[in-house]
């Protein structure tokens, strides 16, 4: 039998058993919680049969679900008669199921009678409030059928002949098991049940038999497996001890049996481990089929891509995310993707894409489900939020799209225009979220109108097995998850590539790069011998985009470890992601590369950043910059990116002349204006005046400073932004607050004031050319905008690709686009693709801007449609490239 079908049968048999119990509970106590559980179970059955191509079953379940929906919405009351109705519906489902199990096909015939009743009930036409027969015990499972209802339906041709009575008969009884029992207790209902379960007329006489399908798998309490695991670990330890005793004692009579014991123990250990771990692909196995069927049913072309199917997941976790995943893929296919026609009209590739991607990252398993469909309809959700009274109009107004989109995780929230058989009832995303949160996970949602939606599920690794590198430092052993280890480097005291130190910060020259190092000994305050070791090892570790080395004393091998969470009292120590027991029985702490990176001041980006593969990783390398730190106009430290400074000069004060009351100096045969940081012109009266020279083409400008303090390499993160002209903000540089000056401001000050309006003066050929600048960093926007303006361009700057695209949507036109590569959300490459793929910008020159410009980046950039690629600080190159691109375009 088809795996999918047999799984469905097993699952549904379980669901039905639960439903019987739950319905009885509901009858006694109509709590919304029970009801929603019932509703969900029926919904799932219905949904699944839709995909398996079981129309008859689906129709019955759908009708049942309708009635339940009315219960849920409070339009119908839960009465014994109504519950009976539902139970009847379930019984019918069981009957059909048992036939399917025997023949792999639905029995012929239809269920119009039952569906008619159910629909009538749903519309409130039947008097379900009719008192049930007086003798009915409240707790009995299916109370006797209300006679009138059945009687009405009786004339319909209910009992159709069984198509394959012989083949079908033996297997029918798996599902009949329950009713059978009930019959014993409530014999009065037997004839009624028979009447309404026509497909199985002979149930009462048959001996109930275990379902063949249900018997193939058993459900075992995870706790039992957990105990087994513990026992096996102990066995391993004891085995190791024994081996230790026999070692060096080769002629021992125990040697051979011990050898065997050892093998068996290893196998046992592996076996028990395996019972818990499963590749996530198992949960995905039925998705291709579901998507295929959906694509046929809805006439959409869908391409389902599954990446990382081998990622191992704890069984328990897997079980819990299976349904949510299915649901989300279904949603993507149904609501997310547009129809083929629609896609063709808006210029998207006809085939819609759904991508599932699973991977381990920093102690978590990340599962992403993304589609390139229409994205969430934020406007509709806003309306719906208001309509449902979840928030007032003004509240909704103030919410960002991101906040609004979160409402889809609310119970009963659906924006589908009509309730289809696939989805749209508002069960779903709330359940998805609940299930994920149950296992300590989180779900994030990113959506973009017209571009698609992606969900990012993050599940902690606490239960997962990882392979880890065991290292030693100061006599203590630690495990580092192998997944974050890039390579190992051994350094010796006299090797040519030793560890070098810049102001106490150890670094290593590794090929063409300087690798920042973290000493585990210092980081964990392990103390111990600080004296020179003859050799040390460096574990080159990668977290997201950040690569650094961890200095350790020794490196052992890798081991498969089961990550166990640390005790609650230790959870605040971010350096550890868990602990584990090694094969030799010792407890060992597992280092968390994320935490270590964080402690070194490196800010680790969000999980989404790592979705791109290795190519993107290279690009995401750290954004360190050299900063020139100086003092000017006060004691505060000021800084400017060194790359912007052409030269540092000291000018004899006597050489300073004045023109129009402003200081100038003859510099390299030209007049160079001098600008002071605060606009006052009190330069030194004697000696030499330090000046930072900013040069642009033929023009130079000198910024008068008091003192040049230092040149430091630092990750520039502007923490405080200020509104003061000339300042971008304040950043922490070498541990001190430093004002980062806006060089662009001083450039325009010098040129603008001095040479008149730049647009008129020079770069006439650029006049009026509109440039779109896309960069998430306010620093660069502030830096480049004046620069480009000075060069005569009209600049519009936005902080994200999304905003840029909305400009396109709004009909804006530009002569050229300059885009950053590393941006949160849509990155530069995707942006380029989006620009090139369609719309009025498809031909506009596109210049990539990145702090890392390697051959590989150029390559990739050109592939996705960038016209050219410029390193971030190379202003001349940027201007040149722009001019070239624009003239090339003009010529074309």
């Amino acid at each position: 039998m088809d795996d999918l079908l047999s799984e469905f049968l097993t699952e549904t048999a379980e669901s039905l058993a639960t439903l019987d119990v739950e319905l009885v509970k509901l009858e006694q106590n109509p709590e919304p919680k029970i009801l929603s559980n019932i509703f969900r179970l029926v919904h799932t059955i219905k949904g699944t049969c839709g995909f398996l191509g079981l129309p008859r079953l689906e129709a019955v379940a759908h009708a049942g679900e309708n009635v339940l929906g009315k219960f849920r919405d409070g339009e119908l009351h839960v009465t014994p008669a109504a519950v009976t109705m539902i139970l009847t519906c379930l019984d019918r489902i069981k009957t059909i199921l048992s036939h399917i199990e025997a023949t792999e096909a639905e029995p012929e015939g239809d269920d119009k009678d039952l569906i008619a009743q159910l629909n009538a009930a749903a519309e409130g036409k039947l008097h379900l409030d009719d008192p049930a027969p007086a003798e009915e015990p409240a707790a009995a499972a299916p109370p006797p059928e209300p006679e009138p209802v059945v009687a009405e339906a009786e004339p319909a041709p209910v009992s159709q002949p069984e198509p394959e009575p012989v083949a079908a008969a033996p297997a029918q009884h798996q599902q009949e098991h329950e009713p059978e029992h009930e019959h014993e207790h409530v014999p009065a209902s037997v004839p009624v049940t028979q009447a309404i379960v026509p497909a199985a007329p002979s149930i009462a006489n048959e001996v109930p038999k275990e379902s063949a399908v249900a018997a193939q798998t058993i459900r075992v309490n995870v706790e039992l497996l957990e105990n087994l695991m513990t026992l096996v670990s102990e066995l391993v330890l004891t085995r190791n001890q024994l081996l230790q005793m026999v070692r060096g004692n080769d002629d021992s009579e125990f040697a051979t049996p011990l050898q065997r014991l050892s093998h068996i123990t290893t196998d046992l250990q592996e076996g028990v481990m395996k019972t818990r771990m499963q590749p996530i692909g198992n949960a995905w196995a039925k998705l291709p089929r579901i998507v295929r069927d959906l694509s046929v049913e809805m006439n959409k072309k869908i391409d389902l891509q599954m990446i990382g199917a081998e990622t191992e997941l704890d069984r328990q976790v897997l079980e819990l995310i299976k349904d949510p995943l299915t649901h989300m893929v279904r949603n993507s296919a149904d609501h997310g993707l547009e129809s083929t026609n629609e896609r063709r009209l808006i210029g998207k590739p006809e085939v819609g894409k759904i991508v599932l991607n699973a991977y381990h990252e920093g102690g978590h398993i990340i599962i992403e489900i993304s589609d390139d469909g229409r994205g969430l309809n934020i406007a509709r959700i806003r309306q719906k939020v208001m309509a449902n009274g979840l928030a007032t109009e003004s509240e909704v107004e103030q919410m960002t799209d991101q906040q609004v989109s979160q409402y889809i995780f609310r119970a009963g929230f659906s924006t589908a225009e009509k309730v289809t058989s696939v989805s749209g009832r508002g069960v779903g995303m709330d359940v998805v979220r609940t299930n994920i949160e149950k296992i300590g996970g989180t779900i994030e949602l990113k959506t973009q109108q017209g571009r698609g939606t992606s969900f990012i599920i993050k599940i902690p690794l606490t239960l997962a097995i990882v392979s880890a590198l065991i290292v030693e430092c100061a006599g203590e052993r630690f495990a580092i998850p192998q997944i974050s280890v890039l390579e190992l480097v051994r350094t010796t005291a006299n090797s040519e590539h030793g560890i070098e130190v810049i102001n106490n910060a150890p670094v290593l020259r590794l090929r063409d790069r300087l690798l920042p190092l973290v000493s585990l000994r210092t980081l964990l305050r392990l103390g111990g011998d600080a004296e020179e070791r003859t050799e040390t090892f460096i574990v080159v570790t990668q977290v997201g985009a950040y690569t650094f080395g961890i200095i350790v004393d020794r490196v052992f091998d890798t081991e498969e470890i089961v990550v166990k969470p640390v005790a609650p009292i230790l959870r605040h120590i971010s350096m550890f992601s868990g602990n584990t027991i090694l094969g030799d029985g010792s407890v060992i702490m597992i280092l968390d590369p994320n935490g270590i990176a964080g402690s070194t001041g490196e800010i680790v980006g969000g999980s989404q950043a790592a979705t791109e593969t290795a190519a993107a990783r290279d690009l995401h390398a750290e954004d360190r910059q050299s900063l020139l730190v100086f003092r000017a106009g006060g004691n505060d430290l000021k800084g400017v990116p060194l790359a912007l400074v052409a030269r540092l000069e000291e000018i004899e004060v006597e050489q300073i002349e004045h023109s129009h009351g402003k200081p100038v100096v003859q510099y390299r045969g030209k007049l160079m204006p001098l600008v002071t940081i605060d606009g006052s012109f009190d330069v030194r009266t004697e000696g030499r005046q330090p000046v930072l020279v900013f040069a642009d083409r033929e023009r130079s400008m000198g910024l008068v400073v008091d003192e040049i303090v230092d040149i430091v390499e630092e990750r520039l993160k502007v923490e405080l932004s200020v509104d003061q002209p000339g300042l971008i903000g304040t950043a922490v540089v070498s541990g001190k607050a430093t004002d980062i000056i806006d060089a662009g401001f001083y450039l325009t000050q010098a040129w603008g004031d001095w040479f008149g309006s730049p647009e008129q003066e020079f770069q006439g050929e650029n006049e009026g050319k509109r440039i779109l600048l896309v960069d998430d960093s306010p620093f660069f926007r502030n830096l480049l905008t004046p620069l480009l303006s000075v060069a005569g361009y009209e600049v519009v700057s936005v902080d994200s690709a999304d905003k840029a695209l909305s400009l396109r949507e709004a009909g804006d036109t530009f002569d050229a686009i300059i885009s950053d590569i590393e941006m949160p959300g849509m990155n530069g490459f995707d942006f380029a693709q989006a620009v090139r793929s369609e719309g009025r910008w498809a031909k506009v020159p596109l210049v990539a801007l990145s702090s890392h410009a390697t051959e590989k980046d150029f390559e990739r950039g050109r592939e996705v449609g960038f016209t050219d690629y410029v390193a971030k600080f190379d202003r001349d190159a940027l201007l040149q490239t722009l001019a070239q691109s624009l003239s090339a375009k003009g010529a074309a």
């Binding site: 513990t230 026992l231 005790a567 584990t580 702490m589």
Partner: protein, 166 residues
Amino acid sequence: MNQIVPATTKQGSHEILSTEDHEEFVTMFIEGQMFGIPVLMVQDVLGSQKITRIPLAPPEVAGSLNLRGRIVTAIDVRLRLRLPSRKEDGEDAMSVVVDMKGELYSLRVDSVGEVLSLPAAKFERNPPTLDPLWREFSTGIYRLENKLLVILDVPRLLDFTKSEAL
């Protein structure tokens, strides 16, 4: 529908245990002072163990150890009670393993004594003159014939959220 009510709880408070107003305590010693914890909280009594140090942990956390496949966090009760640490590295120290909300902790003490069954009549609340820290960690005192038995409040002893704030 039928709730199964456990007859006893494993890590329950000691009230459950009181049979005819008697409670049983595992006694232990630090610096000659006798301490007790309810016997039902105790899972194991261990001799000296190989302990893995945990860097950056609070000083009272001696490390972690493997107890039949489960990881147990070792707490140095001496340091927790702000008593001087032992000079000779606690080689012969003993530990009492307790279960707290499913997590195992081993309380490291100098030595572990016998189990005493004590009548409630001999129980007294902490004298107000007791060090506030000790008052925090003790539920009360039993008057024994020649000694006083300080009953440790294990949940509080293991609640590090407060001490972190200090």
